[in-house]
């Protein structure tokens, strides 16, 4: 069996990354820019996949990259590079300054005001060195244990796409010409299993389960992950189509996060200012039932969506997006806030190049009081969705049509599996028709939702 001693990591840079980012900003300003912003990202990754007990892949690497955005008055452009040599950095800055000549004057362009910049203080518990603390052999063992637990769970689990263990760390530095400089590190580890079950007639089903955490201490035991993966896979065996009908549809917590994605896209300032969202112009209006409250909070200690400042150097915060069904706030970066005559919500996301986008922090639907079982027990005939296929959502019109699979609800209980069906409706109605919200809110990523029940959707099948 191979073993791996971790010695990835980037060779030590001669220049401190904070110094480097500030230096790039200075070079851009010296070159004539009226404002500039530089981002440096550095990361390491490890991943291993074990399939049918044998190591299938083992991957280790580190990388870093740098990007700069410059303004000449109200014209902007950006460049990026993975070449950190002095000539490479010079070329990057020069190209950005050149490129800015061909863009248009945009009266709303610019970096945030000095007064808006800042960073949360205190330990946000985002970085834990222990994600890399396991020796190589033990990491492989994590992946193997997860897969084995799934394979051993039931004789109908006959094959597998494997068990995996991943770890990664990342560091981000941001500096701009208003004197902001900040940095943070984040760590991540995960364990997953993807078993395949087979019926006697050969029909196969696959499902998965995983655990993800910022520290190894909070990662679920691989056996637990493998067992849940097996249960999720087995319950799909023997799936059939359903009849076309309008019935209550229950979204399990994993698929319910997709509804939050759609709300996010609807309140994303970029879609709002251009009227490309069905929620544009609805601030202060009722857009969902009284039971619906949606929060975006980038400040939760240890959260998957937490950071001390956003992609433009604005401190993150807690924003109530929907309160008791009323749209309270859009999610905005500096540009979209200016376009709408509002204030940034500290939601800027920034890649290496291009203009900043908008991203969520820890973004969730507030839990209700019923258990998921109680919620289901109230449904005579309905669909419990455990997986969506495809992306059939039109944010301009709200039209919604997706492939689905899950379990049929009969007499208040989950009965047989169903597949090759569609779920369709319109998001404008859907938000009002979230008739029940369960109490099982749990973060498995930066977006989280409890189990929800939605009425009025059309299930398409036979």
């Amino acid at each position: 069996m191979p073993s791996s001693q971790l010695e990835t990591g980037n060779p030590k840079l001669e220049t401190d990354l904070r110094e480097l980012a500030q230096d790039i900003v200075r070079r851009a300003m010296y070159g004539g820019a009226t404002a500039a912003e530089c981002v440096v990202r550095e990361g390491d990754e490890f991943s291993t996949l074990v399939r049918l007990g044998q190591v299938e892949t083992l991957k280790e690497a580190g990388s870093r990259s740098i990007g700069v955005r410059v303004f000449f008055g109200q014209r902007a452009a950006s460049t990026y590079s993975s070449d950190f040599s002095s000539e490479g950095l010079d070329r990057m800055v020069k190209s950005a300054l050149e490129l800015a000549k061909i863009t248009s004057e945009d009266p709303f362009g610019g970096i945030p005001e000095t007064s808006q910049l800042g960073s949360l203080t205190g330990d946000l518990a985002l970085y834990h060195e222990d994600v890399y603390s396991l020796p190589g052999a033990e990491r492989i063992e994590y992946a193997r244990r997860a897969e084995k637990a799934a394979l051993d769970f039931d004789p109908r689990i006959k094959n597998s796409e494997g068990g995996s263990f991943d770890a990664a760390t990342g560091r981000k530095v941001l500096a701009n010409s208003h004197g902001f400089v900040g940095e943070y590190r984040r760590s991540y580890c995960s364990v997953a299993a993807v078993p395949i079950a087979q019926t006697e007639n050969g029909a196969m089903q696959r499902d998965y389960w995983f655990s993800v955490a910022r520290t190894l201490k909070k990662l679920d035991q691989p056996e637990q992950v493998g067992k849940i993966a097996a249960q999720r896979t087995l319950r799909r065996l023997g799936a059939r189509k359903a009849k076309t009908a309008q019935v209550p549809v229950v979204f399990d917590p994993m698929v319910a996060t997709s509804i939050l994605d759609h709300i996010f896209e609807g309140v994303n300032g970029d879609s709002v200012y251009r009227g490309a969202s069905f929620l544009a112009g609805k601030l202060g209006e009722k857009i969902a039932g009284d039971n619906v409250s949606v929060i975006d909070d980038g400040t939760i200690v240890g959260g998957f969506g937490t950071s001390p400042f956003d992609g433009e150097g604005v401190p993150t915060r807690r924003t109530v997006v929907i309160e008791n069904g009323v749209l309270k706030s859009y999610l905005l970066n500096t540009y979209t806030a200016k376009k709408l005559g509002l204030q940034t919500t500290g939601s800027a996301s920034r890649g290496l190049a291009g203009t900043p986008g908008i991203g969520p922090g820890n973004y969730f639907l507030q839990a209700g009081t019923k258990s998921p079982e109680d919620l289901i027990s109230g449904i005579k005939d309905g669909l419990y969705v455990t997986e969506f296929l495809g992306m059939g959502v039109n944010l301009v019109t709200g039209d919604y049509s997706r492939g689905a699979s899950g379990l049929w609800i009969s007499g208040g209980e989950l009965t047989y599996p169903v597949e090759e069906i569609t779920v369709a409706g319109n998001l404008k109605d859907l938000f009002f028709n979230i008739s029940e919200i369960a109490n099982d809110l749990e973060f498995r990523g930066s977006i989280a939702s409890p189990t929800i029940r939605v009425d009025g959707l059309t299930v398409g099948g036979e």
């Binding site: 796409e161 069905f278 996301s349 291009g354 495809g390």
Partner: protein, 527 residues
């Protein structure tokens, strides 16, 4: 690894997602494209020496790296050098709001031992870092060192696309002209077009692949694309339309037939059309697919399921079906990486193997899989040159190139006339497939009702869902009008995105589930 869904999508400049990948929607292929035979001619071996010139690589260094990769044994090792330069421009609200350029370079080292793969990469192309990556990847094996084959052999390669240079400043002006012209043309189409975003993006990828079996391949791969997205608004309604295209082409491509006005008008036409769309029906019915981009059906329903890795592991619903009937007599499906300038084409794949034309389904019978080096060796089948990867940071795996169905005999009008009650879908967003149970979806963005053999009203976007191993057995008519898409497809598998092409003639599927919202048909269609 959290989910193994595969999907294809075309970028929607209006669909902003909080997480990659962005959502979908695109493209009608209106231009008639023939399927030309690959032009084959030899390139001068010394013409492309990119990494030797830019990074001072010498053949001696390459041998040293491979020796380090095989220092703990292993069956095979390779190195993939990549230097990618890209440019992107966008006009929005009639302003050139963003312009960006960037460079990314690195080297990935792979060591294969039996079914095991060790992988490491570096974005620092110094000898030290490459050797370090090679020794890290070598940890997968645990045997005495092996010696790479002495001397590299470069096979004669095709030249399917122009050798372009990284974007120079003079060209930037022309690119700005493209996006601003698209903006004007879309707004001029109809006063109800209120929002337009037009983007242009290109890249040039220089690669060098060397393998311990003597593989030596260099290529210079251009890729360019335009996209136009429009929103039409009336007092009561909004709708969107998207269009785009390109391929492995130089800038002059967009100053020919496929100019900014062509894409702009198409996006605007779709947005205006959708203003009056009525609810789509729900349930099983006859479905006619128009030619071109609706070929995304093939990509999802059969293409992914025929990638050799899934079949080697027996995780595909198609495993063990070679020689069996999986489609009706009229269906012949091809994957072809050798079509000049196409988005999915490659002179050599990302393992340095020449691409080829591979018959997947011949007259309804399953013929073969798409393979890479690893699957070919482990399964004892030929390498079809389908080993692809997103970048130097990724392990190659079997992927599609351009996937299409050959034309049949039927007249497209006759196909429509034969349908009593169904839908005619001509444009799609993306699709997705679960290769294990075979269920796939693809989402129509432009579709019409067919009632009594006549195309009637446009309907709202709807997802179509089916079962890969049997959907093609229900293809009862195949048109004589094969088209390829305009060059917008990006395929995702295990988190790796690669450009692909699809194509199909007009076809009729006797029964497929349509995911609309309209109440079950009240019997109100005309006959």
């Amino acid at each position: 690894m959290t989910s193994d869904h595969r999907h294809i999508s075309a970028v929607d400049v209006f669909a902003l997602s909080c997480r990659p990948p962005g959502l979908v929607w695109d493209n009608e292929a209106t231009a008639q494209m023939s399927l030309p035979a690959a032009r084959r001619h030899l390139i001068d071996v010394d013409r492309q020496r990119f990494f030797f010139d830019h990074y001072g690589l010498a053949e001696r260094d390459l041998e040293r790296y491979l020796a380090a990769a095989l220092s703990a044994g292993g069956d095979y090792a390779d190195l993939y050098f990549e230097y990618l330069s890209s440019t992107a421009l966008m006009v929005d609200e009639s302003m050139v709001k963003s312009a960006s350029q960037g460079i990314s370079a690195g080297c990935g080292v792979r060591v294969v031992s039996g079914e095991r793969t060790g992988y490491a990469y570096t974005d620092d192309l110094s000898s030290d870092r490459i050797l370090h990556a090679a020794r890290t990847a070598a940890l997968i094996a645990s045997a005495p060192a092996k010696t790479p084959v002495a001397g590299f052999r470069q096979k004669p390669a095709r030249s399917l696309y122009p050798v372009t240079l990284p974007s120079v400043d003079a060209e930037i002006t022309a690119k700005v002209e493209l996006v601003t012209r698209a903006d004007k043309a879309a707004r001029a189409y109809d006063p109800r077009i209120k929002e337009v975003r037009a983007s242009y993006a290109d890249e040039l990828r220089n690669i060098l692949v060397i393998g311990s079996d003597g593989t030596f391949a260099e290529d210079s791969q251009p890729l360019a694309r335009m996209n136009v997205g429009c929103i039409a608004k009336t007092e009561s309604n909004s709708a969107r339309g998207n269009s785009g295209g390109g391929g492995r082409v130089a800038l002059d491509f967009f100053f020919g037939d496929k100019n900014p006005e062509f894409f702009a008008k198409e996006a605007a036409r779709q947005a205006i059309l959708q203003l009056d769309a009525r609810e789509a029906p729900a349930g099983e019915m006859e479905v006619v697919l128009g030619p071109g981009w609706p070929g995304v059906l093939l990509h999802e329903a059969v293409g992914h399921g025929l990638e050799a890795d899934f079949n080697r592991k027996k995780t595909s619903a198609f495993a063990g079906l070679i020689g069996k009937r999986v489609a009706s007599e009229g269906c012949t499906v091809i994957d072809n990486g050798t079509m000049p300038w196409r988005r999915g084409s490659l002179n050599v794949d990302d393992e340095g193997a020449p691409t080829q034309e591979t018959v997947l389904i011949e007259k309804g019978i399953l013929k073969g899989y798409l393979s890479d080096k690893l699957s070919a060796r482990l399964m004892g089948i030929a390498d079809t040159g389908n080993g692809r990867r997103e970048s130097y940071e990724h392990i190659p795996m079997p992927r599609m190139t351009n996937t299409y169905m050959l034309a049949g005999q039927d007249n497209p009008e006759d196909i429509i006339r034969s349908v009593k009650h169904g839908i005619y879908a001509v444009n799609f967003g993306g699709g997705q497939v679960d290769i294990t149970n075979g269920k796939f979806v693809f989402s129509a963005s432009e579709a019409y009702m067919i009632e009594g053999g006549q195309i009637t009203a446009p309907i709202k976007g709807a997802t179509l869902i089916g079962n890969g191993p049997d959907v093609l057995t229900r293809v009862s008519m195949v048109g004589n009008d094969l088209k390829l898409d305009e060059g917008v497809g990006t395929c995702g598998k295990d988190g790796q995105a690669v450009p692909v092409g699809v194509g199909i003639p007009t076809i009729k599927i006797d029964r497929l589930t349509v995911g609309g919202t309209a109440k079950k048909d009240p019997g109100g269609f005309m006959q």
